[in-house]
């Protein structure tokens, strides 16, 4: 039975230490590990004004209880669907500085196809289903909520049914 572990990190975490521990615990059964690391970029507030205000921090809000439950569901489903040796998701909450990790997704398997597919499936599901919200804080003191994650299709991967809004039956 695959280990499907998730964790919310209220302070900066070291993804490489996390991965080294996971990998060494499962070697030499593991043949292929696919890993995604999302990190905070110091983007300009307005891409058209590269010398304008820049991002100084992200504030990551979540839904305590539901967020952990969704992450666990995503990791468990990916581990089962792709016969993983281990699935791991770590996600920051709170205030994140540029350059710091936001999310780590790892899929450890015997073969590469399973590892890649599971890793991609987990990050796409997380982007559209896990209740996190990013607020961007800029160097001029302004702040704004990120309105939506980049659509999966425009981002190169169509994830059918990944948008829970499509099935809520909301009028209009």
């Amino acid at each position: 039975m695959a280990e499907a572990g998730i964790r919310l990190a209220p302070v900066p975490f070291d993804p490489w230490a996390e991965l080294a521990a996971l990998q060494s615990a499962l070697a030499p059964a593991v043949g292929a590990s696919a890993i995604f690391l999302g990190t905070a970029r110091a983007d300009a507030a307005d891409p058209a004004e590269p010398d304008g205000p820049r991002l100084t921090a992200l504030e990551l809000e979540h839904y305590p209880g539901m967020t952990e439950r969704e992450l666990q569901r995503i990791a468990t489903m990916a581990a089962a669907a792709h016969d993983l040796l281990a699935a791991r998701i770590v996600h920051r909450v709170g205030r994140v500085a540029p350059g710091e990790p936001i999310v780590l997704v790892a899929a450890l398997a015997t073969r590469r196809a399973a590892a890649f597919s599971a890793c991609r499936q987990m990050i796409e599901a997380l982007k559209y289903e896990a209740p996190f919200w990013k607020r961007e804080c800029f160097s001029d003191g302004s702040a704004r909520w990120v309105e939506a994650n980049t659509p999966a299709a425009a981002d190169g991967a169509a994830i059918p049914g990944a948008d829970p809004a499509a099935s809520t039956g909301l009028p209009g």
């Binding site: 990551l60 839904y63 996600h91 982007k127 896990a130 919200w133 994650n149 099935s167 909301l170």
Partner: protein
């Protein structure tokens, strides 16, 4: 005999609503919970909702002791 209501992120700021409690007897569906908590204000175009921390829909039933969450599209990762 009540339903807990929670709002998150930009929606909480938009509504200037803190978390709320509505009488269970006054609501049958998630939609009812919205209107009890928020008033006649229509929900924003893209609204997600959960009952007891699982995604739900506008017409899903709600019972005494449930927790209903309303929030904008998620932007983690």
């Amino acid at each position: 005999m009540s339903v807990q209501v929670r709002f998150f992120a930009s929606l909480r700021e938009l509504l200037q609503c803190t978390d709320a409690e509505v009488p269970a007897a006054a609501v049958r569906t998630v939609g009812d919970v919205w209107h009890q908590a928020v008033g006649e204000r229509a929900p924003p175009g893209k609204l997600l909702m959960a009952v007891n921390q699982q995604y739900a829909g506008w017409d899903d039933p709600v019972a005494d002791g449930d927790e209903v969450g309303f929030f904008p599209p998620v932007t983690g990762g």
